[in-house]
């Protein structure tokens, strides 16, 4: 184990954190691969990994079985006869208590909620962050502090006043209302993210553009935006998963015909009427989880970076 340690002392702590968590360990491999220590480390990690994977495995297996097989077999056994019937049923026929056209309705609602909410919340927050980083005006920091502290206030404290505001605006119960709500509650974390990113860009760029006579919007669109694509991707991942997974706002701020997928899923699975079809339920659950899971597996390191950025205060 001697001399194996990569020399990181030149990197400062704050640079080191996101960089090293995304790029993995450095330095040479340990010499002995089958030492007792390694067996313990890998053994524990493999057991833990199996535990984390177990629910996903059970979900997939259950969703591919027919009901008779579920009643007699055990949930860990792979299906004897693979059937995609539950998936079809979950997508197109499952009943929520109000209607029986499956999760497809919720899926499209969620798409119609997530896409505009993501775009608008990121647009608003990036401009906010830009103003805070480069165009500070008197009082800006005060509002920003309120915003960040506000991120810790339980949503339950603010939902009713928001209901009233939205009702006054005439958008309560509509998709527009829900988009506004997602923009509001996405603002603290996103503004923080963008402010820190823009503040980290070289100031000379900004100054040079100012000298050349560029104004607020020109600098934003011509210089800041093209330079910040990575952080926009991080913000997008954060927002798409967050909004897709939201349940509370969907229930509170929309009418049943606009319910997002999570709400509809819950209504399908926890509806008291009818015989419980566990395979359909699991197929529906998987369908709902598919979008954030896909984003997670594709984005990989950026997802971790988004979380780290969201978690570590600037």
């Amino acid at each position: 184990m001697l001399n194996l340690v990569a020399n990181n002392s030149t990197v400062t702590e704050h640079e080191a954190v996101p960089d090293r968590i995304t790029s993995g360990p450095r330095g040479a491999k340990p010499r002995r691969t089958l030492s007792r220590r390694n067996i313990v480390v890998y053994g524990t990690l493999i057991v833990v990994a199996l535990y984390y994977l177990l629910p996903l495995y059970v979900m997939i297996m259950t969703s591919l079985k027919g009901m008779p097989e579920i009643r007699v077999g055990n949930i860990f056994a792979p299906p004897v006869e693979i059937t995609f019937e539950p998936w079809v049923k979950a997508w197109a026929q499952a009943c929520t208590g109000l209607n029986c056209d499956g999760l497809s309705r919720g899926f499209w609602n969620s798409v119609r909620i997530t896409v505009p909410s993501t775009i608008i919340s990121i647009a608003v927050a990036s401009i906010n962050g830009y103003a805070l980083a480069n165009w500070r005006f008197k009082g800006a920091d005060l509002f920003f502090t309120i915003l960040i502290v506000g991120a810790f206030i339980p949503y339950q404290v603010m939902i009713y006043p928001i209901v009233i505001v939205l009702r006054e605006m005439g958008v309560y119960g509509t998709l527009t209302g829900l988009i506004i709500v997602h923009t509001i509650f996405g603002m603290p974390i996103l503004t923080l993210l963008f402010r820190n990113y823009f503040a980290g860009l070289p100031e000379e760029l900004f100054k040079a553009a100012r000298v050349d006579g560029a104004g607020f919007w020109t600098i934003y669109f011509k210089i800041m935006l093209p330079m910040s694509l990575p952080i926009f991707v991080v913000a997008m991942i954060l927002q798409v998963t967050g909004i897709w997974n939201d349940f509370l706002f969907g229930v509170v701020f929309t009418r049943p015909e606009y319910y997002p997928m999570t709400v509809q899923l819950n209504n399908i699975v926890n509806s008291v009427q009818g015989v419980k079809e566990y395979n359909v339920n699991m197929a529906a659950t998987l369908l709902t989880g598919l979008v954030p899971l896909t984003i997670y597996f594709i984005s990989g390191r950026l997802f971790v970076r988004g979380i780290a950025a969201g978690a570590v205060k600037g």
């Binding site: 184990m1 984390y52 206030i153 607020f216 699991m282």
Partner: protein, 302 residues
């Protein structure tokens, strides 16, 4: 900061930097109207006897007296306390141990991290429903263990009021420990390798280095993680709705659900406002000391 504000000879204070101010209108509105105003509004109306609609007829602390006399609220608070304490302890311990294991310069680190973190990408609804299925006494883990020969094995947390909150805890830990692991790993990676070298030279065993040197050095990371977990705990709602709907009976009720049910179903707004104000107080008790420690001293700029 950037020089554009230095030319203070301009006639109108308000017009300076106008574009930035216009661009900040959404932020200012959110901060002042929603966050400050909304919170103040809810606190104010928690002292009224609003029923179906908010009305300003003050009844003093009536709503709070009723709240603290309601069995359902007491159960909610008790559940939140058990769930909160245990999920703090377990997620910190598990998260740290996993991070320490991941920091041993292992191979396949990315694979392990991907596996441990994927539940975090899933919603609480999905998490709750999966665990509802796994903990189903008729088909789930209980039936499997019984079919292996241990016929008296009993594990049906979702149908037993005494232990239902632990069933929810299991699901929550599955979903959230990956995140804690990632935060802790980031913290561990931020520690200077020289510390490890020095400890090795001095012949201090590894576990002792962790307990006596590394953990105290990671104080900041621990506190940040603690605040993140704690503010999540107070908000716990979807998971309970999906997994048990508060049942059996009222055994797994939580404050956030109490608020929602009173505001939007029981049409007893005053109760809902009082309950949400209590949630706010709970969060303040967690956040204020942290904010004081973190920013009050003004010692570092991260």
């Amino acid at each position: 900061m950037t020089g554009q504000t230095r030319g203070s000879a301009r006639p109108n204070q308000w017009l300076r930097n106008l574009n930035a101010k216009i661009a900040s209108i959404p932020m200012i509105l959110t901060a002042v109207v929603i966050f400050l105003g909304g919170t103040a509004w809810t606190v104010l109306y928690s002292f009224t006897n609003s029923k179906l609609l908010p009305r300003l007829s003050f009844v003093g602390l009536d709503q709070y007296e009723r709240l603290w006399a309601a069995p359902r609220w007491l159960v909610s608070i008790e559940n939140l306390a058990i769930y909160g304490l245990l999920s703090l302890i377990f997620s910190l311990v598990i998260g740290f141990v996993l991070a320490a294991l991941m920091d041993q310069k292992i191979r396949f680190e990315n694979t392990f991290r991907t596996i441990m973190l994927y539940p975090f990408a899933l919603s609480f609804i999905v998490t709750g429903l999966v665990w509802q299925w796994l903990l189903n006494p008729q088909y789930g883990i209980q039936s499997i263990v019984r079919s292996l020969g241990w016929t008296s094995f009993n594990f049906d947390p979702l149908y037993n009021s005494d232990i239902v909150i632990y069933g929810i805890l299991i699901a929550a830990l599955w979903q959230g420990t990956g995140l804690v692991m990632c935060l802790m790993l980031a913290g561990l990676r931020g520690i200077d390798e020289d510390i490890w070298k020095a400890a090795r030279v001095d012949g201090i065993p590894m576990w002792k280095t962790y307990v006596l040197v590394i953990i105290p050095m990671m104080r900041g990371v621990f506190i940040t993680t603690l605040v993140i977990i704690a503010s999540g705990i107070v908000k716990v709602y979807d998971l309970v709705v999906a997994q048990t709907s508060g049942g059996p009976g009222i055994a797994s009720e939580v404050p956030a659900k109490y608020v929602y049910d009173y505001m939007f179903q029981a049409q007893n707004l005053g109760q809902g406002f009082a309950a949400s104000t209590m949630m706010l107080v709970t969060v303040a008790i967690i956040i204020v000391p942290w904010a004081y420690l973190e920013f009050g001293g003004g010692r570092k700029r991260a």
